[in-house]
Amino acid sequence: MSTTTYVPAQTPGSRARVKTPVVPATKGIASNTGVWVAVSAIAMSFAALTSALIVRQGSGSDWQRFVLPRILYLDTVILIASSYTLELSRKRFAASSSRPGAASKPAPDTAALRSSGLYWLNMTLTLGLLFVVGQFLAWRGLASQGLFLATSPSSSFFYVLTAMHGLHLLGGVLGLLYVGYRLRRNRPNAQTSLGTAAVYWHFVDLLWVYLLMVIAIRM
């Protein structure tokens, strides 16, 4: 491989070009980029459903408002709590792998932090599953009011939105189970995965809060 410097020609329109420095390889973490990409796509599909809801509400005169099952509010608290427990878990794991700090900070007790992290992770999963149970109870509550999928457009959207959200939440549960499995066995990069999964989980949480607002306002 020879290194040649070309004598720049003086004629105008010459093709010689400024030497640009060699940039380092990209430093981004693919799974992090990936989860934000996934989050945007999911947000977009719920945006589509929201606009469909708005159009549908305006197009017919058959929009029926109904009483929201109370359990939905409890469910919301459960989900927000699960985000909090996930953060606790993530912080414990982060602390367990941090290097010893300045002299004033003691070295981390890795094993205790890891087991505490796993504990909070399991709490998150439990709360997530409780949320899903709550959703089913809410559906039962609606059915007892005589509101089924096809009863009225508002009930249709309620079932569709909550079902879609629930499916994504269950996907998050599976993801956390997998991450938990890798953390327990101390697989490499498991903590990064936890961070990625946390982004997804918090998004699903925020998505629920958004959906609840839409449902409460429009139904």
Binding site: G13, R15, S59, G60
Partner: protein, 264 residues
């Protein structure tokens, strides 16, 4: 090979443009008051895009011919990309501005202005696979439409209930659209099943007919004759057969036609 490409492209360009210039296959003469403005817009667009089409294909052919030897010094476009980008933006921008400015007026005159207040109101029911037309009769009022009463089997295309609705008793329902010439017409378009479309090429207008909506469409026909109304929105297997006739006639002919229909 390059020269062959260039020649082929020139031939293709000229052959493509010929039928347009020669009007070999062309819109039928318009019979609507708004038709000429649409045709004018069409001509302007044809000329503008025709120039773009011919010049760009010929430039492509010319450049390929000129630089097909595969030898010769590499040259860059004089002046670089900047002027070309600017040219593209300006030329296209100007074309867009002029077309939009004039075109929006044409569009508005057809779809955004209200119908003449003395327009003749006719109701249109589109269904798989026919059009039906309803005239209000001497009382000037249309009877209400009852979806549950619609029955093709018994010929109740509009779902009328003359037994209970007085205004429905004198409604005239026919399978062709008869209208007097030079008279503003206001159609209200309904569909009982699929999305259909009301299109008369000579009128230079069409409108989708959407179930659940009642859509107005107005025009004035300027020449007597029989014209075809066709459906342009895919509505099922009989879509290609869905046609009705629009008969434009003199006022006196129309009056006798209507009298005859009401008498039946």
């Amino acid at each position: 090979m390059g020269k062959v490409f260039a020649v082929a492209l020139i031939i293709i360009t000229l052959v493509s443009v010929y039928p347009i210039i020669a009007h070999t296959w062309w819109p039928p003469p318009t019979i609507s008051t708004t038709g000429p403005s649409v045709d004018h817009q069409m001509d302007e667009t044809l000329i503008g895009t025709g120039i773009l089409f011919i010049s760009s294909q010929l430039i492509l052919a010319g450049f390929v011919w000129a630089f097909s030897s595969g030898k010769g010094k590499i040259k860059s476009w004089p002046g670089g990309a900047g002027p070309v980008v600017a040219f593209g933006i300006v030329i296209v921008g100007l074309e867009i501005l002029s077309l939009t400015f004039v075109g929006s007026k044409v569009w508005a005159s057809m779809y955004m202005t209200p119908a003449n207040e003395y327009a003749l109101h006719i109701d249109v029911q589109a269904e798989q696979f026919a059009f039906f037309f309803r005239y209000p009769g001497p009382d000037g009022v249309f009877g209400p439409i009852h979806a549950e009463k619609i029955s093709d089997g018994s010929g109740n295309y509009f779902g009328l209930d003359p037994a209970n609705d007085v205004s429905a008793r004198d409604d005239v329902v026919v399978g062709s659209l008869a209208i007097p010439v030079n008279t503003p017409i206001l159609l209200t378009l309904h569909s009982k099943d699929m999305i259909h479309n009301f299109y008369v090429p000579e009128l230079r207008l069409q409108q989708d007919i959407v179930p659940g909506l009642d859509i107005p469409l107005h025009f004035t026909a300027t020449k007597a004759g029989r014209y075809e109304i066709v459906c342009t929105q895919l509505c099922g297997l009989g879509h290609y057969t869905m046609r009705a006739f629009m008969d434009v006639m003199s006022q006196s002919d129309y009056d006798s036609w209507l009298k005859q229909q009401s008498g039946d």
